[in-house]
């Protein structure tokens, strides 16, 4: 066993070229989106507030590691929460880590989980404009995501249509803790719009649907919640597969963000095994579940698995498919992955370039 040493220094001439598929921008204050919200919604927010299906609507479902789930070193000197300063994002992350392109994933306020559907849709519209005005126009390396309020499919499809031809946006974004499993037909108009506009659907961990975060109920500890994101992603994938979404929308591409990786091969194999025995229950599936996943689903890499043996990581990538892995850091959150150190396995330069850049370049058609 080797000993981790401090002095394996950061390469002095690190020629990193990275596409970071998960960057979280933050607002200094909620009033930043007021210019993009109708007056009635500003008043609504002032008088009634945000209504999510949990207590303390401005809190998170679990207290996070550190305030704001943030890296302790990501607080801007000028004040404001981590992720709110473009200057710090540039110096600490984009410049320092060779980020050529970065995908914005705004999370706060959870518009897709707002109980007031019209308010949720209005929030997505405002936050989508905010991404462009506040970030992409000021930093050409960044790209926006079309945030949608998926419980209102009419509003979601309208927002997708409004943004689809805007090159500032690269994908549609929703959070996986939806009111019903994501493959249910109520959500199909969203998939139809995604396919028609050739926009991938990004599913980033999160959402507040009122259901307990695990099948066994609400857990006690943040550590359990942090594991439950994998359960959530599994229910997303099994629902998309078994409801026949990929059969109905053969051009649909989905990227699962921040759900972990280690479970994917065993989960796929388990679904295949069940399909070989119970296929007639879902005759609309023409192929094995793992084939749909292999063809339609990509995964972001953070939080990277850190198995005890490097060969196990290589084996995992072999089984998921090297071309399905999109590098991500989660900046400025506490479980950030550094592109220099995230993959604790010997990789060839070609493999490293594929993971850090090439796969996302092909997936998003940028760079």
């Amino acid at each position: 066993m080797s000993t981790l040493e401090l002095d394996r220094g950061r390469p002095a001439e690190a020629k990193l070229r990275v596409i970071d598929c998960d960057i979280h921008p933050a607002m200094n204050a909620w009033t930043e989106v007021h210019p993009y919200l109708a007056k009635k919604w500003i008043e609504h927010l002032t008088i009634y507030g945000s209504h999510l299906r949990h207590a303390f609507s401005e809190a998170l479902t679990h207290p996070r590691m550190s305030p704001d789930a943030a890296r302790v070193d990501a607080y801007p000197d000028e004040g404001g929460p981590p992720g709110s300063s473009l200057a710090l994002m540039r110096s600490q992350h984009l410049d320092a880590n060779g980020v050529a392109f970065g995908m914005l994933i705004p999370l706060r306020w959870n518009p897709g989980s707002q109980r007031n559907l019209d308010f949720g849709v209005a929030l997505t519209q405002a936050m989508n404009t905010w991404q462009v005005e506040r970030w992409v126009k000021n930093e050409p390396r960044l790209r926006a995501s079309i945030l949608i309020a998926q419980e209102d499919t009419v509003g979601s499809v309208a927002e997708i249509k409004a943004r689809a031809s805007d090159p500032n946006f690269t994908q549609i974004l929703l959070l996986p803790r939806t009111d019903e499993p994501l493959g249910r037909r109520r959500y199909w108009p969203i998939f139809e719009a995604a396919e028609r506009n050739n926009l991938p659907i990004a599913v980033h961990v999160g959402g507040t649907n009122g259901h307990p975060s695990t099948g066994g109920g609400w857990p006690s500890y943040y550590m359990e919640e942090h594991h439950a994101v994998a359960e959530t992603m599994q229910s997303v994938l099994s629902s998309l597969v078994f409801e026949g979404v990929f059969e109905r929308f053969p051009g649909l591409r989905v990227v699962i963000m921040e759900g972990g990786l280690g479970w994917i091969p065993s989960f796929s194999a388990r679904m295949d095994k069940h399909w070989s025995r119970l296929r007639s229950e879902v005759p609309h599936l023409k192929r094995s579940p793992s084939e749909y996943i292999r063809e339609h689903v990509w995964f972001t890499t953070q939080p990277m698995e850190e198995p005890g043996r490097a060969s196990q990581l290589i084996d995992l990538f072999d089984r998921i498919g090297w071309d399905r892995l999109l590098f991500s850091t989660d900046y400025p959150h506490w479980d950030f992955d550094d592109p220099r150190h995230a993959f604790k396995a010997p990789l060839s330069e070609a493999q490293r370039a594929q993971l850090l850049y090439g796969n996302a370049q092909a997936f998003y058609g940028i760079g």
């Binding site: 080797s2 000993t3 981790l4 401090l6 002095d7 394996r8 302790v72 950030f336 220099r340």
Partner: protein, 138 residues
């Protein structure tokens, strides 16, 4: 190995830390209730600056439902992933045998003694006999 004066004891208040650069290394000097410790600044996991981490005590439990907090201020948590390192030894709490940052020998010495020392590498650090200094060996 050489001895380096890196701070006066007054530079670093109890609970605070100072990042110094010696022989090409970034080293964190921590004041724990008046005791000084020096550890390398880079987390061995993904390279974060430990000087930017929170200094905490050691939380332990003898059984579920029982918590003990001891050794206040003697652990630093990495600012990214929260790995805890013992400021006295540099060892991580979860994996002390394999995961550690280098701890450097450190002494607090009187300026009066230091001005006599000819090998001292303190060219950029004026030493006066009235004060106390943090000296590390690198």
């Amino acid at each position: 190995m050489a001895r380096h004066v890196v701070a006066t004891v007054d530079d670093i208040a109890p609970g605070q830390r100072k990042l110094v650069h010696v022989q090409g290394r970034d080293i964190g000097i921590f004041n724990v209730g008046g005791e000084f410790f020096a550890i390398a600044n880079r987390c061995p996991h993904e390279g974060a600056s430990l000087c930017k981490g929170r200094v905490v005590g050691l939380v332990e439990s003898s059984e579920p439902g029982s918590y003990q907090l001891s050794r206040p201020g003697e652990m630093v948590r990495c600012p990214w992933h929260g790995w805890e390192f013992d400021l006295r030894t540099g060892k991580s709490w979860c994996d002390p045998l394999r995961t550690k940052v280098r701890a450097f020998d450190l002494k607090v010495e009187e300026g009066a003694a230091l001005v006599e020392e000819t090998l001292l590498r303190a060219e950029t650090f004026p030493v006066s006999i009235e004060r106390q200094y943090v000296v590390i060996e690198v």
